[in-house]
């Protein structure tokens, strides 16, 4: 079964001069273990498409299925649960909760699910360790570097083992070296843990870490092809 099925997604935005169609009918599917990089020029609709897939926005027309479940008709409550348990998010600006520690941020999906911190701690620590930031578990975001924050964000995204991870410009706010490290971690997550990752980026180099490229132009799917040799190997301590 495909993890993700996107069918004829259209999205228009009303403007004073008339509706503007940002997405004009996008269709594609993603299987388990794929690392899809989505690229396109500014205004191509890639971020909008990611938001629709992630249930943050509603398509004007078309459908999205996550693990066979159509998400358009879901209630707000059901969508919230979907986002919590079946999707993982990684944002450009990290979006960590400033009053929570790295450990608590990582365990946030469990906390939102009503679990106690004590029960979530082992899993959170495991992930932080796997991502190489366990030594910062009790620090707050203000005390972390950009790279560290993004790693905590990745841990949060992976916590409930969602089948699909959505990353919106995950390296957009990082320097190139840190960015590379993050990309390699994302690769690792896909390879070792079997997640499906859909990453929006404007950076070709970042895109090359994926296993498949989807290009959007003017709201349409321009191209969709596998990347034969994904970029990057992990540094020794993160193998």
């Amino acid at each position: 079964m495909n993890i993700l099925k996107v069918q004829d997604i259209r999205r228009s935005f009303p403007q004073p001069s008339g509706a503007v169609e940002i997405l004009k009918g996008i269709s594609f599917e993603a299987s388990k273990g794929e690392f899809i990089s989505m690229m396109g020029p500014s205004g191509s609709g890639k971020s909008t498409l990611l938001q629709i897939i992630g249930g943050l926005d509603q398509a004007t027309k078309g459908s999205v299925q996550v693990e066979g479940q159509a998400i358009q008709s879901l209630s707000d409550q059901a969508l919230s649960l979907l986002r919590r348990r079946r999707l993982g998010y990684i944002f450009q600006f990290f979006n960590l909760v400033p009053t929570l520690s790295a450990l608590e941020n990582a365990a946030l999906p469990a906390l939102l699910d009503g679990k106690s911190l004590a029960s979530a701690k082992p899993r959170a620590m495991e992930l932080l360790q796997w991502l190489g930031v366990d030594h910062r578990a009790h620090n707050r975001p203000a005390q972390l570097s950009g790279g560290e924050m993004q790693r905590v964000a990745i841990a949060r995204a992976l916590f409930l083992d969602p089948p699909l991870i959505l990353a919106d410009e995950p390296t957009g706010n990082l320097d190139s070296k840190t960015g590379e490290t993050v990309l390699m971690l994302l690769q690792k997550a896909v390879r070792e843990r079997g997640h499906t990752l859909l990453m929006v980026t404007h950076d070709a180099k970042a895109a090359s870490y994926g296993t498949r490229m989807i290009r959007l132009e003017d709201g349409l799917l321009h191209s969709d092809f596998p990347i034969s040799t994904p970029h990057g190997t992990l540094p020794g301590n993160l193998q």
Binding site: L56, Q77, F91, V97, T99, G114
Partner: protein
């Protein structure tokens, strides 16, 4: 989940902005402190009075009385014969004033209630005790000496008195010396009125207080009297009323407490009203603060939504934070409330005593755990209620907000633009409703408690909702005016004003705190000034009778004195320098309370004078003073003049008949005119003193107004009286100018609580403004960075921020003045009239408005210091990096 939200979000979010949390907490706590302090004072006052009434009542189940004038002692024989009556105990009850002669409080006057009792039969009704030995060592000596008096230990200690000491009290024949022959322990009647009680033998009291042949009350102890025997009580009461007829009250002790509640309920209502307003401001502060916090955390909330938090959970998260803060505010407010209550109880109870003429002294302030819990509950519920709407807004923040940088969406309380259009209309509708309510309300009917509580809420919320219009319709024309002006300073000013217009919600948030605070300051000022002006204008006229007033020692301006025997008039007439002409005759007045339809009213009984005088003390509304006075003193029939508020309250008018119950039966009086007189919230009746003597058998006088002969200096005449009647009879002579001054002091005292409310309101306004300004400047760090990056220098940036602060302060003042004036006009002419029973005319407080203007602008400048400093010290790089 809820626990997690609480633990990981609610408490931590509050702690992450400690200054804002503290400021909001303080603001709410202040409102709660005032409200719970006032509640405690009100409750304690009534329970103190009830305790006193019960202490005096002793074992008696019923009390017979007939107003201030008293009634014949023969009535006792009739009551004794009623089946079911076991014992009767007559009593004289007089208010006397003790003047401290020596010590640090020398010259200070204290009210003391003197009970004249039949010591030979008191044991069956009341218990008196002293430590060791008998209360009266030698009854034979005590009973045969009219100057014998027993004080309470409490009073004696307070005034450094002991057994065999002499004290001077005012009597009907002037000042008299009494000898302390015993001290009472605080049990029974000695507990009453905070211990400001003295006991005399009844015959001594009769002689001293002008009540020969009379009693003020007779207490009835019933057969086998036990609690909960309504049948016997009801039968005896019915029979007593039948025998005695109209003019007498037969009441159980609890009914007397109800009378006081009735008399002071209005004043207490006004205090509660004002403190409720202060609480409302606290609510607005919370709403504002929470909204600003939500704005700040918009991205965070969006993130939580994106990560799977449901809308309901976001809603409860916000409420949960407010619950924590509200509980803390409630606790702080509760503790502060205790201090407020203790600080104000003296002044408030003195004001209540002035209002009611009753010796109200709060012995024990009830501020216990119960009051603290109530205050905490109030703090929590008020805060949660205030946060309801912002929480609703928060739950509607879309998950997409997670993707937007901070500060990009600056929705404040109002939120999206559609709401900005609708809400001012709603606010206007509320304010218009209040106006319509004024037009249609029947002032003589008591307002329902629900409506009384609703009015301040509607006023404050309505004003807050209408504020956007004030902002928009002030800034837009101003900007238009500046459109064609040039220069870098003008540019900076224009930018400042445009910034305010462009972010209406943020501007509103800043303006709102100051608006509600200053509005309350204006409302309180208007109430104070309107009341003072109305009363002063009347008083000046009322006491511009001659040059001076003579009375016995006490609170002359409130007529709370021991009345003198009318024979003192002859002594006054014999004093050289007194004008005895018909044009400026001596005005003789007896002031006393009577019951009318169960309510206490005031009678001012005056000796007839000739028409030549013109009756300057009569402020007639529907006839001339001459016509009114002529009718009043006509021998043809018994007439009265009634006050405006009495006419309204009891639906009476000139030409109708007013029936008054007297100890000699019910008598009709023709209403000759309606007058203005503020002496009583329920009403005042002017009566010919001859009628008083005839029907009430009262020959006492409260006050003499007189003039100095032409060519005689009033001050010299005053000195003459001081050295003659002042020495022999302890009579005090007060010049009219001094009386007016005393009256202003009494009014000031009555409104002293209001000053506390004003201060609280101002503080809350300042706190709110500081709160929101700090946040909004923080939000705009990036924006300031950009402005600096494109070439604005530090000075220009500082000026712009300063202009913004000034403009917001001025907007707050303007809105407060406009809306505050409107609301206070409504409240003076509706709520105050209802509360105090008087018709108060609205006075515009010009000087107060100026004060408010400077205060408001000053407050805005103070609140702006930090933001201006911060803005001017920004480094561009850091500012641009700011998220």
């Amino acid at each position: 989940m809820i626990l997690n939200l609480f633990r990981f979000f609610a408490v931590r979010n509050l702690m992450s902005s400690p200054v804002r949390t503290l400021l909001t907490l303080l603001g709410v706590a202040l409102g709660i402190a005032l409200f719970s302090g006032v509640s405690a004072i009100n409750a304690s006052t009534l329970s103190s009075f009830k305790e006193s009434v019960d202490a005096v009542a002793g074992k008696s189940s019923l009390t017979v009385s007939a107003g201030d004038a008293g009634f014949s002692e023969q009535v006792e024989e009739k009551l004794k014969k009623i089946p079911g009556v076991r014992t009767t105990a007559p009593m004289i009850e007089s208010k006397a004033y003790y003047r401290q002669k020596d010590g640090p409080e020398a010259g200070k006057t204290s009210l003391i209630t003197v009970f004249g009792i039949d010591l030979l039969k008191e044991q069956s009704v009341r218990t008196y005790q002293t430590e060791g030995g008998e209360v009266i060592e030698d009854p034979l000596e005590f009973l045969n000496q009219p100057d014998s008096i027993i004080l309470t230990k409490e009073f004696a200690k307070l005034h450094d008195l002991k057994v065999n000491d002499a004290i001077e009290l005012a009597s009907a024949a002037g000042s008299r010396t009494f000898v302390v022959r015993g001290l009472l322990s605080p049990t029974g009647p000695a507990k009453a009125y905070g211990g400001a009680v003295a006991i005399m033998d009844i015959d001594g009291a009769r002689v001293n207080f002008g009540k020969e042949g009379k009693v003020d009350r007779i207490d009835l102890v019933l057969q086998d009297s036990a609690p909960g025997q309504p049948e016997v009580k009801a039968q005896v009461a019915a029979r007593a009323r039948e025998i005695l007829g109209e003019g007498y009250q037969v009441e159980a002790p609890e009914t007397q407490s109800d009378h006081l509640q009735h008399m002071v309920g209005a004043f207490q209502g006004m205090l509660s009203f004002l403190s409720a307003l202060a609480l409302m401001i606290g609510m607005v502060l919370v709403a504002n603060s929470v909204s600003v916090a939500i704005t700040e955390r918009r991205q965070e909330i969006g993130t939580l939504r994106a990560l799977g938090a449901t809308r309901a959970k976001i809603f409860f998260l916000i409420l949960g934070e407010t619950l924590v803060m509200g509980s803390a505010a409630g606790l702080l407010g509760a503790l502060l409330g205790n201090s407020v209550a203790h600080a104000l109880v003296g002044q408030v109870s003195q004001s209540l005593a002035s209002q009611s003429g009753m010796p109200i002294q709060v012995r024990e302030l009830h501020y216990s755990l119960r009051e603290i819990l109530h205050a905490m509950l109030l703090g929590t519920s008020v805060s949660v209620a205030a946060a309801f709407w912002p929480a609703r807004k928060a739950m509607n923040i879309p998950p997409m907000a997670a993707l937007k940088a901070r500060g990009a969406d600056l929705s404040g309380i109002i939120g999206e633009s559609q709401w900005m259009k609708v809400i001012p209309w709603l606010g206007a509708a509320m304010l218009v409703y209040l106006f319509v309510n004024k037009l249609t309300l029947n002032l003589s009917e008591p307002m329902s408690p629900a409506l009384q509580a609703l009015q301040p809420a509607l006023g404050v919320i309505g004003s807050a909702m209408v504020a956007p219009w004030v902002i928009h319709y002030t800034l837009t024309p101003l900007l238009h005016l500046l459109k064609n002006s040039h220069g870098s300073n003008i540019l900076v000013l224009r930018m400042a004003l445009e910034n305010l217009l462009r972010a209406p919600s943020r501007t509103l948030s800043n303006v709102l705190s100051l608006l509600v605070g200053l509005m309350l300051v204006i409302i309180v000022s208007v109430i104070n000034i309107s009341f003072k002006n109305s009363v002063s204008a009347w008083t000046t006229k009322a006491i511009s009778v001659g040059d001076m007033a003579l009375s016995s020692n006490g609170r002359v301006v409130a007529f709370q004195v021991q009345p003198l025997h009318e024979s003192v008039l002859e002594l006054i007439k014999k004093t050289p320098g007194v004008d005895l002409s018909n044009k400026r005759p001596i005005v003789v007045m007896r002031y006393m309370k009577v019951n009318y339809q169960g309510d206490p009213l005031v009678i001012k009984a005056l000796d007839p004078t000739s028409d030549e005088s013109g009756y300057p003390y009569i402020d007639a509304l529907d006839r001339t003073a001459l016509e009114a006075g002529h009718e009043l003193f006509s021998d043809a029939h018994d007439s009265v003049l009634i006050s405006e508020n009495l006419a309204k309250r009891y639906h009476k008018k000139t030409g109708e008949v007013l029936e008054l119950d007297t100890p000699t039966g019910r008598h009709p009086f023709a209403i000759a005119a309606t007058i203005r007189d503020f002496a009583s919230p329920n009403g005042v009746i002017y009566l010919n003193r001859n009628a008083l003597k005839k029907y009430w058998k009262d020959n006492l006088v409260t006050i003499f107004f007189l003039a100095a002969k032409p060519g005689v200096n009033p001050v010299d005449l005053q000195n003459t009286f001081n050295s003659t009647l002042g020495k022999t009879h302890g009579i005090v002579t007060i010049l009219n100018t001094e009386l007016v001054g005393d009256l202003i002091n009494v009014i000031d005292q009555s409104f002293s609580f209001n000053k506390a409310v004003q201060l609280a309101a101002l503080l809350v306004g300042l706190i709110g403004l500081l709160n929101t300004m700090l946040v909004s400047i923080f939000e705009r760090t990036r924006e300031f960075g950009m402005l600096r990056a494109v070439g604005m220098d530090r000075r220009q940036l500082s000026k712009m921020v300063l202009w913004e602060c000034l403009a917001q302060g001025s907007l707050g003042v303007l809105a407060a003045v406009v809306l505050g004036t409107y609301l206070s006009w409504l409240w003076v002419t509706v709520n105050l009239a209802q509360a105090l029973g008087w018709v108060i005319h609205f006075s515009f407080p010009t000087s107060s408005i100026l004060q408010v203007f400077f205060t408001g602008v000053g407050v805005a400048l103070i609140a702006g210091i930090l933001p201006v400093l911060r803005a001017s010290q920004l480094t561009i790089r850091k500012a641009l990096e700011h998220e």
